[in-house]
Subunit: 272 residues, 2 copies
Amino acid sequence: MKLNAEQLRQFAEEGYLFFPNCFSEEEIALMRIEGEKILKLDRQEVWREKTGAPRTAFAAHTFNEVFRLLAHHPRLVEPLEQVFGEPVYVHQFKLNAKAAFEGDIWQWHQDYGTWARDDGMPEPRAMNIAVFLDEVFPFNGALMLVPRSHKHGTLQAGHDKLTTSYPLWTLDQETVTRLCAEAERPGQPGIVAPTGKPGSVLMFHGNLVHASAPNITPYPRKIIYLTLCAVSNHITKFTRPEWIAHRDFTPITAVADEALLEYARAHRIAAE
Amino acid sequence: MKLNAEQLRQFAEEGYLFFPNCFSEEEIALMRIEGEKILKLDRQEVWREKTGAPRTAFAAHTFNEVFRLLAHHPRLVEPLEQVFGEPVYVHQFKLNAKAAFEGDIWQWHQDYGTWARDDGMPEPRAMNIAVFLDEVFPFNGALMLVPRSHKHGTLQAGHDKLTTSYPLWTLDQETVTRLCAEAERPGQPGIVAPTGKPGSVLMFHGNLVHASAPNITPYPRKIIYLTLCAVSNHITKFTRPEWIAHRDFTPITAVADEALLEYARAHRIAAE
């Protein structure tokens, strides 16, 4: 998947791009089944909310074939190679559960803030590409983005180890208020919260400020976050476990576009 | 304001009605200024979140002229007289702040569950009519309703005194999951979350199941909830303070439709 000139311009200007229905229902059904299995596993890569509900599963691409294919998928890898102008590697792979009723808050933050401070990543030449496994409604913890906030570089942040089970470098209320006010346009607030069917994809700049509210509905909101980093921009500090911030900087070679579909069909045949 | 046959049918079927821009910008500007003043008051009627941010101010219609006019406003009073077929009185008057960054959750509940259990209200012949003082966006704690859930009568509930600063009879996750599943329609989830400009009005049945998520954005979401009860259905138990569950069952005589506007204009002239 290649971005056109208008998409590249919009990404540079707004800091994000949204692709509704980027993966088919058949591809997503496969990933959803595998995702649910992984969130039930009792292993160090699966973190839980304070209530015990799953919060985040790391590194599923290293132990699950479906997610290995996803991490090498041309619809995700090619746009990022294009933006960075060089090959990319997998810096992080997360499945965020945002479980029904129990999925907790992610406070306002920039991803690159964590990658720089904790992992010694030289430049914000890495970013998240989110794949919706469930439908994202306005009310089940949709990701909220502050458009254009990536232009401010890396903002001052505090290390929040208390609010949730996951430590995060978060922004203060004054900063978020200022950025949202700057992002307002006539008749429009300074926050966008893309919603869409399973299979939709959202890519956003490593410095784009974002957050998500708790999910208090019966509708889970599982999203895969694939973080791809330009190979020349690999991390230099190894303070976090290898399965959170990967140390294998091998450039990704994309699989075929139909790889997930073929797996789904072969798997179904094998299961019958 | 009178409801037409289609609105009456929709209310009976769905359990709610939404009126965008029911009050003008001038009327709302007046109420917003007064509302902000009230939320700063240090008096027993103003409850705070655990963080200290304002949560709910009760009974403002008893000590503020603008809100006295609102509680007697024909756009709110007449539809409820029409639905109940008799005069109404003010059972409760709340300003819910859902403050920027700090407005906390309201768990899933039915209002009549509280009125019946705590106040001995005989029948669900009272309801809330919500007036948006701020713009309600999908992301700043919009009220979530489960359509048609009012048809289940009063559901079993537990008394939650821990989650927030306000005790509430709340429904369990299984019940909410079941009601949402029943409320689903092809391509539509079992939750609606009406959004709209300040001045929009939402009326909903006393047994309609609803909740709202925390507000983690810089956009406050102040809503006035005027609870009107059919006079013949007045409460019979006085366990809560008078300023939470009123004991004056005098039928409301509506003021003129332009009463708020006239107050705004007179007030502005007086202030100059």
